[in-house]
């Protein structure tokens, strides 16, 4: 039943007739929401600092930009692909934009060039996957290594200090609108926009068809290669966007940024219901996945849990969460 999730929210005749709480219960994401609320509940007893505005802000800042990456990854997973290069392409986006800025180019232009370059990288991967016929896994693994190498090459292995970025540029990473950080606003805009598009637009519906059964999609007149090419490219483009936001936020570009990030991002999408075989997944779920992972890390830090125990607890909570989610979904189905 998992895989109907994405379309069900909007689609079913019965769902539209049912009252709101029933629809909520049927959603794929409900299990995750319950688990996250449970953790919130526990944490608010465990630490007096947990429910403070400052802590909430710190916690959301920790996952906001990763949230943009997970959007791209989820869409790519739905189309049947995967991308191991997200960490290094994000780093490369920072490095290229930073390097261009330090060479005297306007930071906005530099950012544009850098995002375009990431799009190019995505197109490059898309080419190898759709034209040559290689597997996403191996292509993106190679690109992960190449992009990391390019980061080293452009920086000589040293972080680029971008303290001189103009304040209006830094604003996108550090500013706030009222009490809300801009980063969170950008995150919400991306998430809501893509969640809506994925559920509602014909364009993105084709992504589901392609991932569910590529041959049947081709036999339905969908240019599946084009779809896969585009989802691959989109994922890298969003890496570019995330890289620029990180750069504005940190005022620096670090060549070693995002080591191992790909696994976190894929894990978040999978926890949120995306299938590694394609054809199912949802943005909302994936974002909940990111929030869950980030919440656990933040909570362990807040409680000053010994570092020697943190990983064990973190892994166990992850396993427990997916198990509980699995049972909650099974019960409902």
């Amino acid at each position: 039943m998992d895989s109907t999730a994405n379309l069900a929210g909007e689609g079913t005749v019965s769902a539209e007739a049912a009252p709101f709480y029933k629809r909520l219960l049927r959603m794929r994401e409900t299990g995750l929401i319950v688990i996250i609320l449970g953790l919130f509940f526990i944490m608010s007893f465990a630490s007096p600092y947990f429910l403070t505005w400052a802590n909430m802000r710190a916690m959301s800042m920790a996952f906001a930009v990763d949230g943009i990456l997970v959007v791209g990854m989820t869409i790519l997973l739905i189309s049947g692909g995967i991308d191991l290069s997200v960490g290094s392409v994000t780093a490369l986006a920072m490095v290229i934009a930073g390097w261009l800025f330090l060479s005297g180019i306007d930071p906005w232009v530099a950012s544009g060039i850098s995002i375009a370059l990431c799009t190019g990288i995505g197109a490059f991967m898309g080419f190898f996957v759709t034209r040559i016929g290689l597997h996403h896994f191996i292509v993106s693994l190679a690109v992960m290594v190449i992009a990391r190498g390019a980061c080293l090459l452009f920086t000589g292995g040293r972080p680029l200090g971008l303290y001189t970025l103009p304040p209006e540029f830094k604003f996108i990473g550090q500013g706030t609108i009222g009490p809300i950080p801009i980063v969170i606003v950008i995150f919400l805009v991306f998430v809501i926009a893509f969640d809506f598009m994925l559920r509602r637009t014909t364009m993105f519906r084709k992504v589901f068809y392609t991932g569910s059964n590529e041959k049947a999609a081709a036999y339905s007149g969908i240019r599946t290669k084009k779809v896969i090419f585009l989802t691959t490219t989109l994922c890298s483009t969003l890496c570019g966007v995330a890289g620029i936001i990180y750069m504005a936020r940190f005022g620096s570009a670090q060549p070693t940024f995002g080591l191992g990030l790909e696994l976190t991002i894929i894990a978040a999408a999978v926890i949120g219901g995306a299938s590694l075989n394609g054809g199912s997944g949802s943005i909302l779920g994936a974002i909940l996945g990111v929030i869950l992972l980030s919440l656990v890390s933040s909570s362990l830090a807040l409680l000053d849990v010994s570092v020697y125990w943190q990983d064990i607890i973190r892994g166990s909570i992850l396993l427990a969460a997916v198990t509980i989610d699995h049972y909650l979904n099974k019960r409902r189905a």
């Binding site: 039943m1 895989s3 109907t4 379309l7 069900a8 909007e10 689609g11 079913t12 005749v13 019965s14 769902a15 539209e16 509602r200 637009t201 014909t202 364009m203 519906r205 084709k206 589901f208 068809y209 569910s212 059964n213 041959k215 049947a216 999609a217 081709a218 036999y219 339905s220 007149g221 969908i222 240019r223 054809g279 199912s280 189905a333």
Partner: protein
Amino acid sequence: MQDDVILNISNLSKSFGPVKALRGIDFELRKGEIHAIAGENGAGKSTLMNVIDGILQPDSGQIILDGASVKITSPTKAQRLGIGFVHQEIALCPDVSVAENIFMAKTNVSRSWLMDYRKLEREAIDVFKQLSDIDPSVLVKSLSISNQQLVEIAKALTLDCRILILDEPTAALTEAEAQTLFAIMRRLADQGISIIYISHRMVEIFDNCDRVSVFRDGQHIVTQNVKDVGPSDVVNAMVGRVIDELYPEKQRAEARSDEAILEVRNLSDAKRFHDVSFALKRGEILGIAGLIGAGRSEIVKGICQLEGSVSGDVLLNGTPLKLKNYQDSIANGIVYLSEDRKGDGVFLDLPIAANISALKLEQVANGMGLIQSGAEMAQADALGRKLNLKCGSLSDPVSSLSGGNQQKVALAKLLSVNPRLIFLDEPTRGVDVGAKSEIHRILRDLAHDGVGIVVISSELPELIGVCDRVLVVREGRISGQVAGDAMTEENIMHLASVMDADAAVA
């Protein structure tokens, strides 16, 4: 008499969530009989077989084997009890050779540590001698769907079983292979093996089976000796009403037109077919017949630009088409229904409604490209009703449907776009009698309205019943055509296997 009951099912029920697939089924199978089961799509036939094979567990009820109540918890257990099963949906390992697929169950219980590939292939050749000439060393994924079906059958024949279940084994087979299969079935029955045979083809049931049981809505309606009843009785029991005319009325002579909707000239591809030329006239339904692997599907896919690169001319309503890919075909109103439903016909994991709308999403979307779920549901609902689709909810995944109902979804998808030219490859594969005649009627109506209809079918009675003219393909060439009174099974078989000349055209 009572003594030779080998399998007895009593009061067995099984539900999938809200769907009650089986409600208190009773069924008995005697030693050495061929027992047919008939029923509409979704009547619960496959579900019962899955229970007997241990794939599904019943909610309640008993299975009594040789007088003792048994719990069949897995296919392994079923195998040990001597039950063999040819599935409706082909379940083979695509990355593994034909020989290994056939002997998978044997390998599993084999006491030998090492594989003996040479022996496997020798034995596979032996098994195939009766059936077909498939090379046992090739990988299953390189076989066409009908050959895969043969492998699936061969697989069951190698089992040492007392009860053999065949769930619509002939759906994708042509007459010749089907006859071979029946001969084998008879021989097995004579050896004392009991066979359960599920089919929607009445002829097969009446020619080959001893008894027939009819299911409806998950209930057992009646079991009778075949010789005591006629096909109309069975159909009657199945659908609960009388279907007077199995096939719609054909095109009348005066309605015949010379206007060609489709004209194909000298179509060839690299290896599978050569020099194919034919025309489809306005208002007529054209059939294509041939043996397995004759190249029927390839020709049609070639026309639609679905596979391979073809040379030759295709004219639609007199204007030459310049199709580069299947998207162009669809844009021109040309659509193709695949013979491999599971492989490329439907999206098993996606909702029924989303399957039906897949061909032209614009139809259920507004101007901004937003899918209107109401419109999508309404479309699915309308087409589903028209084809008598039986499902729980239109937002359930297609995988929850019975085989025949999945076929209806695939068909609904094509009909959703109001095409100008439809190629149907085994359109009624696994579809029950009632729905089948409904589909035929729909096709006839479409043809009457000027839509071009080309039907490929392995079921000769269907071709003869529904088509105005039948082309016969042999080894990638059109070996002849038949029409009118010359449209007989003998003539078609003859053209398909030996003769190479134009049969009489009425």
